[in-house]
């Protein structure tokens, strides 16, 4: 009995340990006078390490490029980098970066749960938190004064998913969105839940209903029961807010159990990743993914953005010997806005100065490599700190490649049904 108690306690302890382990110290930076130090928090180990490393690489290439172009009045920017595999680590690392490393701004984080936790620490200490990829609405909906987000928020992604069905798929089928049978599945973390919430809210607004709504843990190692139920409901549209492993698991289980919805619209966090297409091969063709338009077409860019984009792809290829992912683009774009437009205009490198400059920063549509402009919602607006100009796109796998198909202004190909 005693042994069983101990073993059970250890199993739980182990669970906690695996959540905490992996947090590592940051690199020591050069003396303060000669450099501008920025804290970074990304999941470089643990389950989100793949995406986290990519986002960090993007942000780091932005830093290198910025320094190569002269930095700020000759001062180089250095990152004091921290690894946060989970929310606890993110909180601790944010604390450390602020109290020990004394950075005025923290750049992060890739995963919404981590951003949510770390940005609260920054806000409490009046340090700017610059989020480049976590898209959960609740990061900006708290109306914090020091939290900025360069990318779009999840509600915009959910909006584009629904818009795509309403404006493209339903008319194509000769129906309205209210006539379609729609199912919604989502992982139960901050990312999946907030994406689902938008779609649920839109369903009330537009008057469509779901034949099935269900959440699941992204750490599941089987989704049979979910897929069996989905199969029975025969949906025309499956919205899936998944991460990579559960997207693969969902698709493989669907394949095994013979579940084929009319269309699947996932997100670039799961169904739109290179690992997904590697796992599913030809079966991925036709699957949609909403998120950051990955296939930005350099030919449509302004010359300055085109140069940046080419430099990014070249440097990333040299660093990792693979093509850039959406995470790399996001990390790069967010960091580039901060480094090239905000920091050089701050009188001193204090959080309050940086914040004031950020609130007054505007960039026109087409002035970033992702095509959107920049304008941060003010402290009195809802979602303060959110870049209101940022938008999501919808992509589709066609012949093993992901092409932007929606909205039309950024589409590279027509959607195939």
């Amino acid at each position: 009995m005693k042994k069983i108690k101990i073993i059970s306690a250890i199993v739980m302890l182990m669970f906690l340990l695996t959540q905490v382990l992996g947090c590592s110290g940051g690199q020591k930076a050069a003396p303060v006078e000669e450099t501008i130090r920025i804290g970074t928090i990304f999941p470089l180990s643990g389950p989100s390490a793949l995406n986290g490393q990519d986002t960090f690489d993007g942000a780091d290439i932005a830093r290198e490029l910025f320094n190569d172009k002269g930095g700020i009045n000759g001062k180089k920017v250095v990152y004091v980098s921290a690894d946060a595999p989970d929310a606890n680590a993110a909180t601790q690392e944010a604390d450390r970066l602020i109290s020990k490393e004394k950075v005025p701004v923290i750049l992060g984080t890739q995963s919404s749960s981590l951003a949510f936790a770390a940005s609260a620490v920054a806000e409490r200490n009046k340090v700017v938190y610059w989020e480049v990829e976590g898209i959960a609405d609740n990061i900006t909906s708290r109306n914090f004064k020091y939290v900025f987000r360069s990318t779009f928020s999840a509600s915009n992604m959910g909006l584009q998913m629904v818009n795509f069905v309403k404006d493209v798929y339903a008319p194509k089928m000769g129906k309205t969105i209210q006539d379609l049978k729609i199912a919604l599945v989502y992982e139960d973390g901050a990312f999946g839940s907030s994406t689902a919430k938008t779609i649920q809210d839109l369903s009330k607004e537009l008057g469509f209903t779901f034949v099935k709504e269900a959440s699941y843990s992204a750490k599941s190692n089987e989704l049979n029961s979910l897929v069996i139920d989905l199969k029975a409901k025969k949906p025309d549209v499956l919205f899936a807010a998944s991460y990579v492993n559960d997207a693969i698991l969902l698709s493989r289980t669907s394949e095994e159990l013979g579940f084929k919805p009319g269309i699947i619209i996932g997100t670039t966090a799961g169904h739109g990743t290179p690992d997904y297409v590697k796992a599913m091969g030809d079966k991925s063709n036709g699957v949609f993914a909403a998120g950051i338009p990955n296939a930005v077409n350099p030919d449509n860019m302004k010359p300055e953005q085109k140069d940046l984009y080419n430099e990014l792809t070249k440097r990333y290829k040299a660093k990792r010997n693979k093509d850039i992912s959406v995470n790399v683009l996001n990390g790069f774009n967010g960091a580039w806005i901060l480094l090239s437009k905000v920091l050089p205009n701050a009188k001193e490198m204090t959080a309050d100065n940086i914040r004031d400059v950020a609130l007054n920063t505007t960039m026109a549509k087409g002035d970033t490599v992702l095509g959107y402009g920049v304008k941060f919602a003010g402290p009195d607006a809802p979602n303060s700190g959110q870049n209101v100009e940022a938008f999501a796109g919808v992509m589709q796998w066609q012949e093993g490649k992901l092409y932007t198909v929606f909205p039309e202004i950024i589409a590279l190909k027509q959607p195939k049904f």
């Binding site: 390490a49 029961s225 979910l226």
Partner: protein
Amino acid sequence: MGVMDITNFAHGEYLMLSLYASFWLFEFFHIDPYLSVLLVIPLMFLLGLLTEKFLIRPTIGKPMFIHIFVTLGLSVILQNLALLLWSGNFRTIQVPFATHTINFGDISISTPRLIIFMVTLTVAYLIHLFLNYTWMGKAIRATSQNRNSAQLMGININRVFMVTFALGTACLGIAGPLLMPIYYVYPTIGFQFVLVAFVAVVMGGLGSVKGAVLASMLIGIIETLSGYFLDPAMKQAIYFLLFILVLIFKPSGIFGEEGKVV
């Protein structure tokens, strides 16, 4: 776990290594995972022997916390080593039969999962035979019942420990290649499987092969049914609840011998 009085917290990481082994054999040499079983089993057996000899042996007879720290530490090292060597990517292989199913009317059964089920039952039966009808098997059972008496009967318990541990890892050598066609591998995947494995082993009764097989089937059925009828997000909660009930009312596990686990 029942024989050696040691809880191997790195068991999940050995599964991860076994998955990676079959992944790389497929990636580099295009060896079908169902064939690579034949290579991965001896590899994992050998790895088990070495681990036992160099890491576990020195801790035998020491307080329980020593082996917990050793195996837990090993688990952390293996996870991070995998992250360093093979990155955090979700690795998958594509084989045509991965999503093959057998259909009976409305019921479809996934072929690779059916194969896993059959192999698991066969292996469990073989282990049962091994433990009951071979000299080594009897020696293992004797050692698990009373280490000192077994030694007095001329059993080389170091050898018994080594074989027991290596058998455990060799079983993972079967599991890895069989799981590879339907799953993915990444450095921390072991934990997803090991938690439920602990529940199955304790629920079935430590040291009982029959108990572990039945408990794992029970958990699987509960997981799927509760996911279907209640909510997929609830499925783990339900079997953990059952686990707690078993611990309260029959702490030795469903098939555990009373008094053996105290």
